[in-house]
Structures are given as structure tokens and as C-alpha cells.
Subunit: 452 residues, 2 copies
């Protein structure tokens, strides 16, 4: 039965690729309200494809924001139940001029498919839909019970998902969750992510005058809010890259010796992957500890003044920065936001007014590395990619993992299929097609391994 499904998946690769292309053509950017209908269209497409795969009870679930899609197949009797999560919403596409081909016209070049969402997360998510399709089409049944919960708000912090889960705990009840929304190390070296950093999304606003000023007339006597903002933000790190917010590291747990040993096995290709000339950050920690087990503070954009063509010598009335902090296990987002606010108030010059606005708050998460779901994932990776996985903490945030742990009481297997240079959230995002096909096989293996 496993072999039939694997064979079916192999002989239908072109069909699954065409399906993926269709999904990638929908510009389902969840953070931009003008794309709300596109997110809806992606939900509709996913619901129809689940139905075509043989899933039952398929439904588009309203959330108050962008809808989610549910579907199940529950005829595996006493076998365990796997809840598969993914998301069909994507990041914005700017700077659009840096894309070699349009972000929503999937283009295949050198074994990669290029499109916004190719790896994050449409491609990885669809591998599981294809796996279920292959198993049901080839053998008429699945080795485990399967539930899909696919959402359209991951890129905006999954803001309505928690309420959806808590109000459907029976519908979503399962023995483990399986998620592919992360990356492995290379096409032949899988990676089992057992930790995810949390996230706090913030803005820091600075006000000086009550209207924009001419810098000739008032330069030298009124504090330019961009200057004040820059001065405040420059105090967030020291030269070592250590965050200077008092108390910021208070609740950060040290990494155990066993974890250090796992981290040491991980390769470091950061300079090659990014094109950066030199590493930056806390020198006393390894790069994997820094990206996985250390919190960070980042500036994502600064708004205010004039950024258009030519020049405008204005002292703007307001300026603000879009910020985030990546958090690690045991850090409380609320506490860290409070520490940041207190620090800003303590260092802000008295020539300006400052205001901190907090948006999303996602705690970090750690998964038990010895759970049967993690062991099934290891075996599935080995069978499809040819190697057992290395273990790492992921630097990104997947809010749903914490929600599944908290509200459904289930472990989460993070079976990433992306590669480190897939350019997710960036122009020319891509997905390595051999990983797409191996991902379908890995999903088939996982179901069988977990059933045993």
C-alpha cells in the first residue's frame, strides 16, 4: 500500500506540479486588504482540491478575518489521527522591480519553481495534499486518520486562528500535528526543527513639531523626529549586537549540553546563503544558538519625511519605525514589550514625544524531541531524503505550533521541505522541485510510520 502510493505520486508528478502552479497564481497576500478576495479565492481552490483528493467534510471556515479550510478522512479505525496544518496566504511582493519573473506567474528555471509563496507555504503545504491524494487514489485508504487545517492568516500573525481552534477542539482533536513550513539544510540533509522563536511586533513613533517644517527655517532649533528616532533605535544594540533593553535576557534559558551537541552538528552557510560580507551578532554564542535560542531586535522599516523621487528638505512632524523582536522559550512577550517601552521612555530625549504600539505577540515554543511523531518524521525523512535529520531550533515563528500544544495538547512534527536560500519573504522566492516530490513521499512515509 505504501509502495503503491509512492509509485502513484511519482507517475503523477506533473499533475501535482500543475496543481501547485495554479495555487501559486493566486495573489493571496493577507496583509494587504486589496487582496482579501484573492485570499478567499485561494481558500476556495484549496477546499476544492482537498475534495478532489478524497477528503471529506471539507469546509471553508469563517474566522472574522481571512477564512480557514478544513477537511478530514477518518476511516482508519483505531489508527492514530494526524492533523496537518499549512497556510495559503503569502507575504507582500515588494520590491516588485527585483523579481525576475512576476511573483504570481510561476516560472520554472533549473529545477526551481519561482513564485511568491512557492516555499512559504503553498508548496510545502500542497505536498501533503498531494500525498493524501496519491494514497487515496492508489489504495483507496489512508494508514492513519487525517485532518487538514489550512489557514489564510499566517503571514499576519494567525490572529483569528486561536479562537478557531479553541472553538473547534473536538473537530480538530488529533494525536499529533504535522507541519511543513520550515527549511532543511540541503536537498539531501533534512532538518528536524524542534523549537521556534516567538515574536512581538511593534511600532515606535516619535513626534516633534505639530506640522512638517522647512529644514532651512527650523534646522538647528527643532529636534528632527527622524534624528531622535535614529538616536533612540541606535541604543537597542551594543557593538557586539547584544540587545541593550534592560532585563531583555532575564528569562532566556541556557541551552543544555545535549542541545549544544546537536547544534554543533549543524553546518553554517550563512555568508554563502545571504551574500553578507561578515557575520554580525553576539560573538559569545554560536550562529545556531543566535538564530534559534537567542532573542533579537530588528528594524523593518522607517516611515516619515520624504522618500520619493528627488529631494525634499523637510523636517517631518512625525516619524515611526516598524519593529519586531524574536523571542525564545520562557520569554513572556508582554513583559518584553513592557521592558522595551520602559527603556524607550528612559532614553527618549525630552525634545520629542514617543509612543510604543504593540501588535502581534507570539511566545516561543519547544517540542519534545523523543515523541513518536518526531520519530516518525525522522524515519520519513530518512526514507525520502536518504539521511536522518539533524536537529535544530528554527529562528522563525509559527504561532499555530504553540496553539496546538496549548489547546489540543498534541505534539507538533515540523517536517520542513524548504531550502535556506529559497528567498522566502523576499523577491524571487522559490521552491526546489526535487524537495517538492520528496516532500510528497515523506508525507506518505510519515503516515505509514506513525500508524505502526
Amino acid at each position: 500500500m505504501r509502495t503503491d502510493a509512492l509509485n502513484y505520486a511519482k507517475t503523477h508528478r506533473d499533475d501535482y506540479l500543475n496543481d501547485l502552479k495554479a495555487l501559486l497564481s493566486i495573489p493571496s497576500i493577507s496583509t494587504q486588504s486589496e487582496h482579501a478576495d484573492d485570499v478567499k479565492a485561494a481558500a476556495q481552490w484549496v477546499a476544492e482540491r482537498l475534495t478532489a483528493a478524497g477528503m471529506e467534510n471539507v469546509q471553508i471556515m469563517p474566522t472574522g478575518g481571512h477564512p480557514a479550510v478544513y477537511g478530514d478522512w477518518l476511516h482508519a479505525d483505531n489508527a492514530p489521527t494526524v492533523l496537518i496544518y499549512g497556510h495559503y496566504d503569502v507575504q507582500p511582493v515588494d520590491p516588485i522591480n527585483l523579481w525576475k519573473t512576476p511573483p504570481f506567474e510561476p516560472d520554472i528555471r533549473d529545477d526551481y519553481i519561482y513564485a511568491r509563496g512557492a516555499t512559504d507555504d503553498k508548496g510545502q503545504m500542497f505536498a501533503h495534499v498531494a500525498a493524501v491524494d496519491a494514497m487515496l487514489k492508489s489504495g483507496g485508504k489512508l494508514p492513519v486518520n487525517v485532518k487538514f487545517l489550512l489557514e489564510g492568516e499566517e503571514e499576519v500573525g494567525s490572529k483569528n486562528l486561536e479562537r478557531l481552534i479553541t472553538s473547534h477542539t473536538d473537530l480538530l482533536a488529533a494525536d499529533c500535528a504535522l507541519i511543513s513550513d520550515s527549511h532543511i539544510l540541503s536537498p539531501t540533509q533534512p532538518l528536524a526543527a524542534y523549537g521556534l522563536r516567538g515574536l512581538a511586533i511593534l511600532e515606535l513613533a516619535v513626534r516633534s513639531a505639530d506640522h512638517d517644517l522647512h529644514s532651512g527655517q527650523y534646522g538647528g532649533v527643532v529636534h528632527n523626529p527622524l534624528t531622535a528616532l535614529v538616536e533612540i533605535l541606535s541604543k537597542m544594540h551594543n557593538e557586539n549586537g547584544t540587545v541593550q533593553i534592560p532585563g531583555f535576557y532575564d528569562d532566556v534559558l541556557p541551552v543544555s549540553a545535549e542541545e549544544h551537541a546537536l547544534m554543533e552538528k549543524l553546518p553554517d552557510h550563512i555568508l554563502e546563503e545571504t551574500g553578507a560580507k561578515k557575520l554580525w551578532g553576539e560573538k559569545e554564542f554560536s550562529v545556531h544558538e543566535r538564530t534559534g535560542a537567542r532573542p533579537t531586535f530588528e528594524i523593518h522599516g522607517i516611515v516619515g519625511g520624504y522618500t520619493g523621487e528627488g529631494s525634499k528638505t523637510v523636517i517631518p512632524a512625525h516619524a515611526f519605525a516598524k519593529l519586531s523582536m524574536r523571542l525564545v522559550p520562557n520569554q513572556d512577550p508582554e513583559k518584553v514589550i513592557r521592558q522595551f517601552t520602559d527603556y524607550v521612555n528612559s532614553i527618549a530625549p525630552d525634545t520629542v514625544d514617543v509612543e510604543v504600539r504593540a501588535f502581534d505577540r507570539v511566545p516561543a515554543v519547544l517540542v519534545d524531541r523523543h515523541d513518536p511523531a518526531i520519530e516518525a518524521m525522522s524515519a520519513a525523512y530518512e526514507a525520502s531524503f536518504g539521511n536522518t535529520p539533524l536537529f535544530a531550533r528554527e529562528g522563525g515563528s509559527i504561532p499555530v505550533v504553540l496553539m496546538f500544544q496549548q489547546h489540543l495538547g498534541i505534539p507538533v512534527a515540523l517536517m520542513g521541505l524548504g531550502l535556506p536560500d529559497d528567498a522566502l519573504h523576499a523577491p524571487n522566492e522559490r521552491f526546489y522541485l526535487p524537495n517538492f516530490y520528496r516532500g510528497i513521499e515523506a508525507s506518505i512515509h510519515f503516515m505509514h510510520e506513525y500508524a505502526e
Copy 2:
């Protein structure tokens, strides 16, 4: 003859106001290429209005960029010649949502006319056109020879004007220049500006990775270029507001005792005018010395990352800042740009690449306060505004003043008509209508005073 002109100007105020409204309705934003035709339309309008006023030899002069407009009336025999300069191009209008009425639909509220360019410089410029119109319509002649040189590139640094002047020195030959493109202190307290700060327009670019990165994946190991940029820019001022670029103040001349005495007479309404909660800047200098006789460093905008709706947790590949420095007499813009570049290179961390790009360079200028043109301006101000002017150095930059001094060898009378709270370069720019009418009268007085 003077009285007839003044009476004519008074009885035709509504006509001149309607003319000004028509000019203000043309969105002649010189820095935005999509408005190039509008700048051309403004030139055409001005040329036609000069002709209607009775000016001769009116011509639209190509410059390589936006055109300039020339016109003269040279029948005053042995009387001196006055060259009147102004500009009909305007600043961009963003943030557009803060305008109470559309920027190119002039609206009159409480004795003010609101529109982009109302005071900078269409309103002030047109006062002289109206003055000439009133003199020629009422008496058939002018007490002095008059030449107009009106341009469409002042807000982009008058970049083609110098070549235009140097290639037309005979056409433009005059005994003095008269410019209204600055502000006075109050409706009844005129101000004779005898100095202008210079300007250097710059950009500072920072590169880190060669593509945008996911802050979860690379936060903590790659230097965010926005963070690096903020760190560099924070080192441009100390807490006192003193610029930290080594050598920046080397060539700044001390202010004389006579000038200090003039500055002490000037009132300080900066907090009321701006709405700022507190003054900022070099405490050891008076506010008028800071805005007129001290160089500054300003940030006008920061580009890079994500500034749209919602959030995007990106580490951008690049970031850059739009910057300017206001310069004072005896400072060489090239030298200051070099000092800035050397400083940036010396403080930039080795984790990023930095690049300084220099655009406009305008030296500062000082005018002899005892020239006959300045004395004629004093008398004209007193006759029309009821008070002799105070003397001040202006903080802004009018590149043409230096060009007139250098290439035509003539003094420049800066007969400002704006008010400090006219919101130039900002939303809801306005011009105080009584000053518009007094400005027409002041121009008539100036011509007669200068002829005697």
C-alpha cells in the same frame, strides 16, 4: 505716478487675487517627472501674464530641464535696472491626507489663501508681476528698468540656472536683483534677510546581504542594514545637537558684534510656530545664530525594508537615508561632503558596505547690508508695512542669490513677504493675503525708491 500705481493696485486687488488663484491651480511640482508638463504650463501662464502686464521681449527659455521665463521693460532711460527673480515650481504635496483642501485648488479662509506654492514662491513672485502691471496700466511707465527672470527648478536646486545665467549675462545685466522668497516676522514687522545658508543634498546607502532576508532565519547573525544605518546616523549629533563630523565647523566664521546686536532684536516664536514642546540644538548659540549662522545636518527620509500596511518581518538587503546639510558662509560644500564621507567610512561597521552619494551643492551667501538696493528695500518695507525691517540671516537656501553675485556682480535685495507659519514645504501651505497686497505696494515703492 507712485500714488496712481498704488491706487490702481488697491482697486484691482480682486483681479490680482484671481490671477494668483489661476497660477496656484497648476500643479508645477518640479521634482516629480510626471508633473513636467505642469511646470511647462506654469511657465506658459507666467509668460502670458508678463506680456499682459506690458512687459516686452517675453520668452520661455529652454534650460535642459524645466524652462525659465524672461521679460523686460527697458524704457526708463538712465534709471538703474532691477532684475526680479522668482520661481513658479513648487514642492511635492505629500502627506496629501493632511491637507484640509486640495493643494492645487486654492481656498481662502480667514485672510489666508491655502495652496501648494501660495507663499513659496508663486504668491511672493506674483506680487512683483502685479506691481509692474499696476505701474504700467496706471502710468504707462516704470521708474526703473525692469527685467524678470522666473524659473521652474528652484525646488530641485536650480540645477540649470547657473548655465542659463552665465550664457545670458548681457541679457540679464542689472544694477541689483530683487527677490521675494523668504519670510518676515509678522504682518507688521518686515525682515531684511541679508544672509542665506547653503545646502548639500546627500544620500547614505548601506548594504548588508545581497537579497532581502527573513528576520526569523537570519536575525541575530546578519547585520540589518537599517540597524547599521541608524547606528551610523545616530553618531552625527551629540546630545547638545552639535554635529560630530570631524572638521565640520572648521571654516564657520564667528558672528560679529554688530550682527549679534541685530540678532538680539529678533523675536523668538519657534515653539508657537512649530508646536514643538522644547527647543533643540546648540545651547551655546542663540536660536537666530543657530538657524542663520550655524551649519546643520538633517535626515529627511529613510528608505528600505517594509513601510506598507500591516507587518513584514524582513531584514532588507539595502537601506538608505535622504540627507542634507545646511551650510554657512565660508564653508565649501565639497569639503564638507568629503568630511562627511570620511566620517561615515571611519564609523561604519565592517559588517556592511556604505556609500555616500552627493547631489546638489549650494554655498551660503551674505549680502552687504548698506547697499542702495537694501536701503531702497528698507524704505519700501516701511512705506508698505509701517515699520523698518529688522535684519536677519535666513536659514534656507536660494541658490540664485549666489549666482547673481558671482556671475552678474550685483547685490540682491531679499524682500520676503511670507510669514513664519505659512507651512511652506508642508501640508496646508498658505499666504497671508494682506501681505500679498502689501507686497505689491512694497514692490511699487522699491522701484521708486531705487530710482531716486
